[in-house]
């Protein structure tokens, strides 16, 4: 219970921080969120590969971070936010807004499902990662530019 409370507080803090900064600097906010996502994915991936010992609580925590990140993420891409700072947002985000929003919904769904039924073993974690990772991949495939 305590662990859930900690997660909830951190999750709310993350979202609140985003809301405060979003209006000022959507580019920086969304990049920070993706860095957090990367860190969580790093932990999960290492567990799946056997480089880190599997721990169900830590895995669930990381999946909750991913789920929180996916909510409200779309709002960090208002019109005109493709310029202003170095970023990899592809023009398709705005020319195919419905497609982009669908990708975010997919991420919310896959991470939501993972949080609702968190993995209890490395094997289950592998399946969770395949599903969540697919959401990462399809969005990055169509809506993120190559690195400079």
């Amino acid at each position: 219970m305590k662990q859930f409370a900690v997660t909830a507080v951190l999750g709310v803090a993350l979202v609140a921080a985003t809301a405060v900064t979003a209006a000022d600097n959507p580019i920086a906010s969304r990049q920070t969120i993706m860095k957090n996502v990367g860190a969580s994915m790093g932990g999960l991936g290492k567990m799946a590969k056997g480089e880190l010992e599997f721990d169900a609580v830590t895995a669930e925590f990381a999946l909750r971070t991913l789920n929180v990140a996916s909510h409200g993420y779309g709002e960090l891409f208002p019109e005109g936010s493709d310029t202003g700072a170095e970023n990899r947002a592809a023009p398709e985000i705005w020319s195919d807004r419905a497609g982009f929003d669908a990708e975010i919904a997919k991420l919310q769904e896959s991470t939501g499902a993972a949080v609702a039924a968190p993995p209890t073993s490395v094997e289950e974690l592998g399946q969770t990662l395949a599903s969540v990772g697919d959401s990462c991949k399809t969005c990055h495939e169509g809506f993120r530019l190559p690195a400079k």
């Binding site: 790093g42 999960l44 590969k49 195919d96 419905a98 990772g133 991949k137 495939e141 190559p146």
Partner: protein, 325 residues
């Protein structure tokens, strides 16, 4: 004055005839095909994924026609064509290569297919042969063995016929003149089969074959340039093999996949590389995105040994330092 004009005309004719002779579509003859080889459909299927055929020839995304939206295997073997790549030369549209006799390549012989893949020339169905544009990566496919191509054709012959007729290319003058490709081929198509390096292991050589042949990785990952000038018109610059290149569709770079630690993937282990091809995850657990996402889906279908072979090869090539632009 008249003799001068005469000389100009004669020289003009000689230059023109030489150009025509040099750019003539050249094909392999039937004698290159092995006797009695029926084609191993299972190997052909494997090469279909290794070669990435579906990534260009399956149906395009309605809102983003520069890539295919086929996701399941059933969708990926419906080779409708239609993916459209917008380049500085104009728009290239991938053709239908299904078994449909009118809209696809249903009437092709195995020799026709081998000539397309190794020489970049069409069959002669009455109007003579013509060159294919090198956006179809035959400069890499030319490295495939005839046996593999026979198998791949046997597999393609089992796929469904679809009647889609995507539009023709929309190219800017003078790139719209197909004959000009003959000039490019003189520089880019050496007609060489893949030659294993005796100094390297079987594993590295297998990886080298997969990368330089069916995988055609260099088509995106190697810069194009000649005489020190980088241009998409030139053939691949083999001195910077797999060292990264500008994105053909716009901004950004296609990554350097040589073992350079600063600008390439030198910090990745062989297992990191093989794992990335299998799962789409980089060692930092970012996902391979953009055009690489579809490539990774294909690589995931290969044997683990082949992914490791590709990794071993990528660790063996010279490290290229990709300068930042």
């Amino acid at each position: 004055m008249k003799w001068f004009l005469g000389a100009v005309i004669v020289i003009g004719l000689l230059v023109g005839l030489t150009a025509l002779a040099l750019t003539e579509p050249r094909q392999l003859e039937a004698s290159v095909l092995p006797d009695n080889r029926r084609g191993d459909v299972e190997n052909g299927r494997y090469l279909f994924w290794a070669g990435g055929c579906a990534s260009c020839h399956a149906f395009p995304c309605p809102d983003a026609p520069n890539r295919s939206c086929a996701r399941s295997d059933e969708e990926k073997v419906r080779l409708t064509g239609g993916v459209t790549i917008d380049t500085p030369f104009g728009k290239f549209v991938a053709p239908n290569i299904s078994t449909d006799a009118e809209a696809g390549i249903g009437g092709w012989t195995t020799l026709d297919f081998v000539n397309a893949m190794k020489r970049g020339v069409s069959p002669d169905h009455g109007g003579g042969r013509h060159h294919y544009y090198p956006v179809f990566p035959y400069a890499s496919y030319q490295r495939m063995t005839i046996a593999d191509l026979v198998d791949l054709k046997a597999y393609l012959d089992t796929l469904p016929a679809v009647a889609d007729r995507p539009p023709a290319h929309e190219l800017k003058f003078p790139f719209s003149i197909r004959r000009g490709i003959g000039m490019w081929k003189l520089l880019a198509l050496d007609g060489e089969d893949f030659t294993p390096d005796p100094a390297q292991s079987d594993e590295v050589n297998r990886g080298a074959y997969l990368v330089s042949g069916p995988g055609h990785c260099s088509e995106c990952h190697t810069p194009r340039g000649l005489f020190g000038i980088d241009t998409a018109l030139a053939p691949l610059d083999h001195s910077r093999w797999l060292g990264g290149a500008p994105n053909p569709e716009g901004d950004g770079m296609v990554p350097n996949i040589t073992p350079d630690e600063a600008t390439g993937i030198g910090r990745w282990s062989e297992t990191d590389i093989a794992y990335a091809l299998e799962s789409g995850f980089t060692p930092e657990f970012d996902t391979l995105g953009g055009a690489m996402a579809k490539v990774q889906e294909n690589m995931a279908k290969l044997n683990p040994e082949d992914r490791l072979a590709i990794a071993a090869y990528l660790k063996s090539i010279p490290a290229i330092d990709l300068p930042k632009r």
